[in-house]
């Protein structure tokens, strides 16, 4: 496809130096199309504009979403985990996240292809250093209770979440970044976020990626379970805390026509009954199932499994401040025993990508692909054990929650580290016992010498880096304290430019290979089993299901 230099110049003349730098990278081949779309969306460039730029640069059109072949009027039945809390401010359970987003919406949406698309905001822009982000709101959006969504509602939503007394999980993303009162109304349809420090990927923090940021009316009084007042394509029909919920289309929805006549959500406490219900035709979709659970469905010709690559992972952490893991050589030796290819092929049935002992998943555009991949090397691991004075090995205990494939993964690790003389005992706890109150001193997760943890998908690695690895992190289970890491992470989070992000990411990735506070062996794919013939179901890797375009073929 030939380049249209005149059109490209014309389009570029309206863009900022930062945006033009991204286009330079795309045209020169330093940034691929996926990265171009993704980072362009973070900077607030619309998908049509990105498409025109791509065409003008002679690099082809960008893909668009289609709704072809979907019959309207269907009832879509979804199996999901029983929700714990329905208050969007305190929301944290997978079932709650799924239900609330049926009626509520976000400023922007992290799409399954990890491109940010406009939702209640139509566009956004950073200032020059990324400390102020301006969002333009969509006009004519109605709450289910009747009022129009305006800037006051958005300001109140973010002030509520940024309030240190809110106890919202969103604080893990906003702490030290967005204070209460820092979301300001410019007019009824324009707001500004004034950040404590520059954040290059800030739009992700106010997108569906941060599931607490559902826009609520300014008058919200914590009674969501009664009012279910949002702006989304569905409104509540019936809710039974123990059994399930059903939704019907919201007539005054601002967006495309909602296709299903009804959606039903059936609550389950375990995945196995969901699998049986899907096979038995009682439900059409399972919101999420791990690879190990999905094995039961992979050979079923009546089931399709929708897979989305994600940054979600199972990390193994080793306490850097107590023996024997206070020696980085021991930690590296453990990491070198892990057979990542076997994990992906065998345990994950191919539904994962190999990790390189940092939270920089290959799906992130900012991940530096030139960093050497750590592979299994038992001989080198033995040398490291010898250099650390541990050639005879030692006994240790790994503690983990009984969740998903973690016990199976732990048994494989146990077998592999035995080859270098580490006698690893397993302690498997139920989730609540393991997590405790998620505070140092009263949480096995944060206190044990060696443990495992499940981390859900994030559009950007900021939370993983800041919360679980920085010296001041609230969930730093490895007790990893490294000034160089802290400085690099702050630089990474602040960088607006993709290539600057990637350069810093590379340094962090190399430092983590050297220090190895944990093992990040693979990043799992998010799997949603769907009955054949059910089309238009759009899951994302955050456990959210977009059903407004769903139907039966």
């Amino acid at each position: 496809m030939p380049r249209n230099s005149d059109l490209l110049s014309s389009l570029r003349s309206r863009l900022t130096p930062l945006e033009n730098h991204l286009i330079d990278g795309y045209v020169d081949g330093r940034v691929n199309r996926r990265e171009f779309l993704r980072h362009g969306s973070v900077l607030g460039l619309s998908l049509p504009l990105l498409g025109r730029l791509s065409l003008a640069a002679g690099l082809g059109a960008v893909p668009t979403m289609a709704r072809a072949g979907v019959q309207p009027g269907a009832t879509i039945r979804v199996g999901c985990a029983t929700p714990v809390s329905m208050d969007p401010v305190r929301l944290g359970s997978p079932g709650g996240v799924l239900l609330v987003m049926q009626v509520g919406e976000f400023l922007c949406i992290n799409e399954p292809d990890r491109v940010l698309s406009p939702c209640l905001a139509t566009s956004w822009k950073p200032n020059q250093d990324g400390t102020v982000w301006t969002f333009v709101l969509r006009k004519g959006v109605k709450f289910h209770s009747g009022g129009e969504m305006k800037a006051d509602d958005v300001v109140a939503t973010f002030d509520r979440l940024a309030d240190p007394n809110s106890a919202s999980p969103a604080l893990s993303a906003f702490r030290g970044i967005l204070q209460k009162g820092a979301t300001r109304k410019l007019d009824d349809y324009t707001i500004e976020f004034h950040l404590d420090s520059p954040i290059g990927n800030f739009p992700y923090l106010v997108s569906s990626d941060n599931y607490n940021t559902v826009i609520l009316p300014a008058s919200y009084a914590g009674d969501f379970e009664t009012t279910w007042d949002g702006t989304g394509p569905f409104k509540i029909e019936k809710f039974d805390r123990r059994r399930g919920a059903s939704f019907v289309p919201f007539e005054d929805y601002w967006g495309p026509k909602t296709l299903p006549a009804r959606t039903e959500f059936v609550f389950y406490d375990d995945i196995q009954p969901q699998i049986l219900a899907l096979q038995g035709g009682q439900i059409d979709v399972i919101n999420t199932a791990s690879a190990l659970d999905s094995v039961a469905l992979m050979n079923d010709p009546a089931i399709d499994i929708l897979a989305i690559k994600s940054s979600g992972h199972m990390s193994i952490h080793m306490r850097c401040d107590i023996e024997p893991f206070n020696d980085p050589r021991i930690r590296r030796a453990v990491a070198l025993c892990i057979d990542r290819e076997k994990l992906v092929k065998g345990l994950m049935k191919g539904q994962a990508i190999i990790g390189n002992d940092s939270p920089f998943a290959p799906i992130y555009p900012s991940t530096d692909p030139t960093v050497p991949q750590r592979m299994r090397d038992v001989a080198q691991a033995k040398e490291l054990m010898k250099a650390a004075g541990m050639e005879k090995g030692f006994q240790a205990k790994i503690t983990l929650p009984k969740q998903s494939e973690l016990p199976a993964y732990a048994q494989l690790v146990q077998a592999w580290v035995k080859e270098i003389g580490i006698d690893l005992q397993l302690q498997v706890l139920d989730w609540k016992s393991y997590a405790g109150d998620a505070k140092y001193g009263s949480s096995p997760w944060l206190d044990v010498p060696m443990g495992m943890m499940t981390w859900g998908n994030r559009g950007v690695p900021n939370v993983y880096l800041a919360s679980s690895l920085m010296s001041t992190g609230t969930w730093n289970s490895a007790h990893f304290k490294n000034e160089q890491f802290d400085t690099l992470t702050k630089g990474y989070i602040a960088a607006l430019d993709l290539e600057a992000q990637r350069a810093t990411a590379g340094k962090i990735q190399r430092l983590m290979l050297e220090e190895t506070p944990g093992v990040y062996a693979y990043f799992w794919s998010y799997l949603s089993p769907v009955k054949k013939g059910v089309v238009g179901v759009k899951p994302n890797a955050m456990g959210q299901l977009f059903l407004q375009g769903a139907g039966k073929a």
């Binding site: 196995q272 094995v295 039961a296 345990l347 494989l412 498997v428 016992s433």
Partner: protein
């Protein structure tokens, strides 16, 4: 003195003959001996290391290479099936012995002394037995931490009240008999009367009750393992394996669960057949 005390040798011969005539007892013994042999020597004749994973050969169907197939980690299920009896046959009998010792001692005390001792201890037993055993066991394990010792203590203590009640009932009738009065006239102390005079005469119901309790203990250990509160991975324990793999049934991977379930069932049936045979022989 009682007939056992008067002619113990003849009584034992009679009992042995009755047991050897009992089909259910012999069948039970064969089943249990098979599993004991597996527990003791299984590791020496299984075709694969029961802990050795081969993740790239996971969930293989039963075949000549893997008679019972492989589990999700590619481990040979037949090898784990054989060796899996080891932990359950260690924990369940020890828990039963502990429960029997404590229960018998308490049953003798309450039945012999009666009065305030009987009232207080019996009410405590009733309160304890009113709570579901598995819930009590779970609470204790959460408080004490998971280990084989904890499971033995918890199940042993949980069974003690029912054994104590059985012993108490037997002691209540025995304490009124002449040989007990004779012992008192000889100024024997209470401990001697309870443990030397009365105990041999209440042993038959104790033995039967203990055997029945053993089958409950097998279920208890398997249940705790299934719930994740018993033995820890990578133990080939049957309950643990069922817990780890039961989700596979829906996908058609029946072999990951069926053989372990059959193993538990056969061991429980074997123990129950022994209890049945004992009961018949002792009543004869």
């Amino acid at each position: 003195m009682t007939s056992i005390a008067a002619a113990p040798h003849a009584r034992r011969k009679e009992l042995l003959a009755a047991l050897l005539r009992s089909g259910s007892f012999l069948t039970g013994v064969i089943i249990v001996l098979f599993w004991i042999a597996c527990a003791l020597f299984g590791r020496h004749f299984v075709p694969y290391d029961p802990l050795a994973e081969d993740i790239l050969d996971s969930l293989a169907q039963p075949s000549a290479q893997h008679w019972f197939g492989t589990d999700p980690l590619g481990r040979d299920i037949f090898s784990r099936f054989i060796v899996g009896s080891r932990d359950i046959l260690t924990v369940a009998p020890l828990a039963t012995v502990l429960g029997t010792l404590i229960g018998t001692a308490l049953g003798l005390l309450t039945g012999y002394f009666r009065g305030i001792v009987d009232d207080v201890v019996s009410r405590l037993f009733e309160a304890f037995m009113a709570m579901p055993t598995i819930i009590v066991a779970l609470l204790a394990i959460v408080a004490l931490g998971t280990s084989k010792t904890t499971v033995i203590i918890v199940i042993g203590l949980a069974f003690a009240p029912s054994i104590a009640r059985t012993v108490r009932s037997a002691v209540l009738s025995e304490r009124e008999l002449d040989y007990v009065a004779a012992a008192k006239l000889r100024r024997e102390n209470a401990a001697h009367i309870m443990f030397v005079e009365i105990l041999p005469n209440v042993l038959p119901p104790v033995v039967v009750e203990s055997t029945v309790r053993l089958s409950y203990a097998i279920f208890g250990v398997a249940t705790l393992s299934f719930l994740g509160f018993g033995l820890q991975p990578p133990s080939p324990d049957w309950g643990l394996s069922i817990s780890a793999n039961y989700g596979m049934i829906a996908g058609g991977y029946w072999w990951t669960v069926l053989f372990d379930a059959l193993a538990i069932a056969s061991l429980v049936i074997g123990v129950n057949l022994i209890a049945d045979g004992l009961h018949g022989a002792l009543d004869a």
